[in-house]
């Protein structure tokens, strides 16, 4: 297991190098002088020259790339053109805000989606199965922004149960430590704030969870139906095992393997695709951060944002791969 893990991590190196190359190339894909484009037509010659130098654009590209990698290895992501603050200092709160939202969303999606899929397969062709699959179909085809707006309208404006935007009460801000507010408030024993934070999370995470939940439910149902036909399930029943354990022990462990891939993929997509949700719910996340950076043509920020999201994507894939090995003993011996 350990050697496999190490080997798997080493195999990521080319992927990571490829990623930095692509991200590095973004700024060079701008036609003409990037500094001029970034600053606009009315920029003075001096400021263009200064930016050119700051971005290192006067060097040959391979020197630039080398410097870029060197900086990255030191945790230096460059300086935001808009705020003049080092990116690695200012990106953290945005990133963790998105991670918190994504995690909550994917946890909801997995718990509900997997169980709905299991029960649909167990009682296939029952009313539950039909209802769940109709909901799943609606779920995958639902535009998130519409769902978000409807949620706001019903639960915030009409019923007044939940806040419309943001992630905390601005008059009583959370003291950020990890920046995962659910964790911070718990650690500080501020259960009042915990509830407030939770309330802020409900609508955006529910909106975000809808599509993955539907996809996970359908996938789980399909693989469960397949697994429940297998011989070892018949054996489990022939032992006299109760159906609950046949389903949740023997079937689920086998059926979850392909579902894990989907969960990993969906988590990655949520991280990168939260822009819309973050905009609707005023969530101060990486999506918003990037969105603003694009508006200002803040290339270093854009590059860093993309790089981090891509790196997280790769990391999630690694976790999924390792989970496979953990669950399925056959993989270790065949690889």
């Amino acid at each position: 297991m350990l050697t496999y893990t190490v080997r798997r991590i080493f195999s990521l190196i080319p992927v990571l190098i490829g990623m930095t190359l692509v991200v590095f190339a973004i700024i060079h894909a701008i036609p003409g002088n990037p500094a001029q484009v970034i600053l606009g037509q009315r920029a003075t010659k001096e400021s263009v020259a200064e930016l050119t130098k700051q971005l290192g654009l006067n060097q040959p590209w391979y020197i630039q790339y080398f410097d870029y990698i060197k900086a990255l290895l030191h945790g230096d992501l460059g300086i935001s053109l808009r705020t003049r603050v080092p990116i690695n200092e200012e990106i953290w709160p945005y990133l963790t805000a998105t991670i918190e939202l994504t995690l909550v969303a994917i946890i909801i999606a997995v718990i509900i989606g997997v169980n709905a899929g299991i029960i649909s397969a167990w009682f296939s062709k029952s009313w539950f199965d039909y209802a769940a699959m109709v909901f799943a179909l609606i779920g995958v085809s639902m535009p998130i922004f519409w769902l978000g707006l409807m949620g706001q309208w019903v639960f915030s404006i009409e019923l007044g149960w939940l806040p419309t935007t943001g992630r905390e009460n601005v008059r009583d801000p959370v003291t950020a430590v990890t920046n995962i507010y659910l964790l911070d408030t718990l650690l500080q024993g501020r259960f009042d704030q915990f509830t407030v934070v939770l309330k802020h999370l409900i609508l955006p995470s529910a909106a975000l969870a809808t599509i993955p939940m539907a996809i996970i439910a359908r996938m789980t149902r399909a693989t469960m139906l397949e697994v429940m036909k297998s011989d070892y399930i018949r054996t489990a029943r022939a032992k006299g095992l109760r159906m609950f354990w046949v389903v949740y022990k023997h079937s689920l462990k086998n059926a979850i393997i392909p579902v894990l891939t989907v969960i990993g993929l969906q988590t990655g997509l949520l991280l990168g695709g939260a822009i819309l949700t973050e905009t609707i719910f005023g969530w101060p996340g990486i999506g918003r951060y990037l969105y603003d950076a694009i508006g200002y043509r803040d290339y270093p920020v854009i590059q860093s944002g993309i790089l981090i999201i891509a790196a997280i994507f790769v990391f999630i894939n690694l976790v999924v791969d390792l989970l496979y090995v953990f669950i399925d003993p056959r993989i270790k011996y065949t690889k």
């Binding site: 297998s230 011989d231 054996t235 022939a238 006299g240 462990k253 399925d328």
Partner: protein, 337 residues
């Protein structure tokens, strides 16, 4: 001979839904399994052997299947309408089953130990450590060397023969009174086959467990069974003790099956097989179900349905008009002339 049967199947009829209709896969089966005996059930693919045995385990997949009528009497009690909760107490405890596919019948993601301990602890209240000890004993009983090591291994690390031994160990975990073996050796090569059969015979003698051995190989039956039931298209077509049937088969179908057993003397010859196939449920013809493939068919067979007729030998029965005692020869002659 009046040994009390441990398991009786009476007029069992099992159907599967196909579209709007329910088609019978097993159509009025009757047989007894006596305490301590090994009973063989033979018949080609699709004749309803597995459906019969699944019915005796309360495991007919529903939907699409259902038991239409009949009785499954175990230890004097009819199990047919037993609620699932009661069935669970019988399955794996009183009646166990092993299957044709040792390669896929064990869960690939759990260790052998886990699956054995689970089987033991389902029906007894022993500690995990105790169950583990029992597992080792069971593995030794079925002739697995280094039993302790195997507990930690996964099914894919074992050969087919080993897996089938593990399956047998699991089925024997709670000392069942009836063991149903559904083609336990079909997927294994010949030497392993012989070992598994010897093992079953051995277990039968040691533990007095009654065994139903399902197979389409009459050679296997000849080796270890005491009585045989021959099934065709969901019905019993001939039954009797093994020596009578092998020496003196009466049903044209049994004769055909016997001819298709590989024979050491005629190794070079191409193996005989009965022309045609088993009619599928729903396409069962009027008259004798075997008529389309029978070499001795005559007119009556096309129009009337034969019953099981008792023959001179005790317990020997056959479903064929050639054995209606009165004037069968005349009728036979009538069609050939």
């Amino acid at each position: 001979m009046s040994i009390e049967p441990i398991l009786q199947i009476k007029d069992l009829k099992v159907s599967f839904q196909s579209g709007k209709k329910f088609l019978p896969a097993v159509d009025g089966i009757n047989f007894d399994l006596r305490e301590g005996e090994i009973l063989g059930i033979v018949g080609e693919s699709g004749s309803g052997k597995s459906v019969t045995s699944l019915a005796a385990m309360g495991l007919i997949p529903s939907p699409p299947g259902r038991i239409e009528e009949g009785e499954i009497i175990f230890d004097g009690k009819n199990l047919k309408d037993l609620p699932e909760k009661e069935w669970r107490k019988i399955r794996g405890n009183q009646i166990s089953m092993i299957f044709q596919e040792p390669m896929t019948s064990l869960n690939p993601l759990f260790t052998i130990g886990n699956q054995l301990v689970e089987a033991i602890r389902l029906h007894t209240t022993v500690s995990k450590a105790n169950a583990k000890k029992q597992s080792i004993e069971l593995l030794k009983l079925v002739g697995i060397p280094r039993a302790e090591g195997i507990l930690k291994e996964y099914p894919h690390q074992l050969s087919g023969g080993m897996r089938q031994r593990v399956m047998i160990a699991m089925a024997m975990a709670c000392h069942p009174r009836v063991l149903i073996a559904d083609e336990p050796t079909t997927a294994l090569d010949v030497t392993i086959q012989a070992q598994i059969l010897a093992l079953m015979k051995d277990l039968n003698q040691k533990t007095n467990t009654s065994i139903i051995l399902i197979t389409h190989d009459l050679g296997v039956v000849a080796e270890i069974c005491e009585r045989i039931i021959v099934m065709y298209a969901g019905q019993v077509v001939e039954q009797g003790d093994v020596r009578t049937i092998l020496k003196n088969p009466q049903h044209p179908y049994t004769k055909g099956l016997l001819k298709s057993v590989p024979n050491l003397k005629s190794k070079k010859e191409r193996l005989y097989s009965i022309p045609g196939t088993v009619p599928t449920p729903g396409s069962v013809p009027k008259g004798c179900r075997f008529a389309a493939r029978c070499t001795e068919v005559f007119e009556k067979c096309q129009n009337e349905t034969p019953d099981l007729y008792k023959l001179e030998n005790e317990g020997h029965e056959v479903r064929c008009f050639l054995h209606t005692l009165k004037g069968r020869r005349d009728e036979h002659a009538g069609v050939t002339s």
